[in-house]
């Protein structure tokens, strides 16, 4: 196996001057168009929003866009018309990469020029990029992000414990054990979470006058909901383990439960980690639905925080902050799922650890 730097130098060796030039042209176009504009706007100042409007509609910004269009157009034209003549695979690929980047720079810049010249542009900027609005709400932002994570975490915990029980019940040979689990799973999966939240909190907690906060009720209802989906993940994981494993364990004298505990489950758990993490990402996003129940101040999660901030400021920038908050939590998890799935496919998880 060659090291990364060795592969890079081999690849550079295979490039022709023309293909390297087209790649540089395309990359240059996209760098001028996007990072270039961002640096310019940030340097000119992000607050107040009028400063963003004036920098993005300035002649300098327009000239950045025109430069990007010119570079990008040249790269796209040269790349797409000449890539077939390239002598090596690396050269052909870099022609195509340069052409694609150039095309993207052209499309972005043209769209931006058109959009920023419109009447609605300053209003759009005020609505979504009034960062000074965030100032007074920032103190509670981290608390809201933490609440989002806690809601999802405890709900997932409930979901995994109950889900494991329901999964084992659903796998039973006996109809009387299987039926209640199937009924529960299908009932939950067949109804919207919003309806479940309404029935559970408005109907049961408020209706019966129980002393349970929205925060706790939210965790319980989300957990009961996650249990159904988690049960299906566990069931699929257990069923994916070769039947021979159970037979080998049973023929050594283990009871069904021993065979499950010592042989089947440890293997199944490894296989369900990626789908379980996926389920956790979905749960994190679903915590936002609790907003319809109304939170007390300190219990608010990200969307409730953003909605309150919007209500006070009549500005949508807090929603942008919420978007970034959700992404900061979910993107690392999504990457983790991808890495785990790759590891699982390579078969390395099969041995030990």
């Amino acid at each position: 196996m060659k090291s990364r730097s060795q592969r890079l130098s081999a690849w550079l060796n295979d490039l022709t001057p023309l293909s390297a030039g087209v790649l540089a042209l395309g990359a240059g176009a996209i760098i001028v168009a996007i990072p270039g504009s961002i640096v310019f706007v940030v340097v000119q100042g992000l607050t107040p929003f009028e400063s963003i409007v004036s920098s993005t509609t300035s002649p300098f910004q327009a000239s950045l866009m025109y430069i990007a269009i010119a570079l990008g157009f040249a790269a796209a034209l040269a790349g797409y018309s000449l890539y077939r003549r390239m002598p090596t695979k690396a050269a052909r690929e870099s022609m195509l990469a340069g052409a694609a980047l150039g095309l993207q720079a052209v499309l972005f810049s043209a769209a931006f020029l058109w959009f920023s010249s419109g009447d609605l542009f300053p209003i759009f900027i005020r609505q979504f990029f009034s960062f000074d609005v965030l100032g007074e709400f920032m103190g509670t932002f981290l608390n809201a992000a933490r609440n989002t994570v806690f809601l999802a975490f405890f709900a997932q915990l409930i979901g995994m414990v109950l889900g494991a029980v329901f999964a084992l019940m659903a796998l039973s040979d006996r109809v009387v054990v299987r039926a209640p689990a199937r009924l529960y799973i299908n009932l939950i999966r067949g109804t919207p979470l919003l309806v479940q939240l309404s029935v559970g909190y408005l109907g049961i907690v408020l209706g019966l006058g129980l002393d349970v906060s929205v925060y706790r009720a939210g965790i319980i209802i989300l957990g009961l909901n996650a249990a159904a989906y988690t049960a299906e993940i566990f069931r699929a994981g257990i069923q994916s383990i070769d039947r021979g494993q159970l037979e080998a364990a049973r023929s050594l004298g283990m009871s069904y439960l021993q065979a499950m505990r010592y042989v089947v489950m440890p293997q199944a758990i490894r296989r369900v980690i990626p789908p379980l993490t996926n389920e956790f990402v979905i749960l994190i996003k679903d915590t936002s639905l609790i907003v319809i129940l109304g939170f007390v101040f300190g219990d608010r999660e990200l969307l409730a925080w953003a909605t309150d901030a919007y209500g006070e400021s009549f500005n949508a920038t807090p929603f942008i902050a919420a978007v970034l908050g959700y992404l900061a939590i979910t993107l690392p998890l999504i990457r983790l799922v991808t890495a785990l799935e790759r590891k699982l496919r390579s078969g390395l998880v099969g041995i030990g650890a």
Partner: protein, 246 residues
Amino acid sequence: MNEDGSLVRLENIHKAFGDNLVLKGVDFSVKPGQVVVLIGPSGSGKSTLLRTINLLEEPTEGRVLFDGTEITDIRTNVNEVRTHIGIVFQQFNLFPHRNACDNITLALRKVLNVSQGEANKRALQELKHIGLEEKASAYPSQLSGGQQQRVAIARALAMRPKLMLFDEVTSALDPELVKEVLDAMKRLADEGMTMVVVTHEMGFAREVGTRLLVMDDGRIVEDGDPKEIFAAPQHERTRKFLSDVL
């Protein structure tokens, strides 16, 4: 032992999977020390018959007696009975998440309640017996097919069974790995273990088997000394089968 001096006795065994009749009334018994080899065309019911002996398949009809107990009786503790009957499978079925040593000790500790230290000692002893002591900490995926199958044999033997069942244990192996597994089985037979072996290895059947059963279409059609049957098969089906495989 059963009253008639046999270790295992099957009486009138029938087995159906849905509408498909796989066993159509099988009677036979195995005496201690016998090495019974089961052969026959695929689909004749050999594996199913073998698997009814430790009740991995429950017969639809008929009785299985093992060591003086009717194990088809619903009140029998099947888990306890199975600790006395070792089985080795075609696909090895080692536990991939545990190393060779732990594969062997798991049931010793959890089923027979042998202490960890004692179980490890027994596992190493069994691994040594099959010449794999240096692979004690290797995971199944790090072993060749032949080595995996030998560990599977060691895992079954560590329980100190009275009877060993072999279900086409060399069928999934590359040709060059078959011999090491057959050698391990031959050594076991020489040590006096009672064995029932389903196999396509006619050489093994002739050399090691003390008794040959030929199955066809859910019934036993021939039962006798392997060398005699190979030399002069009595039944038309046996002649046909032997001429197809030899």
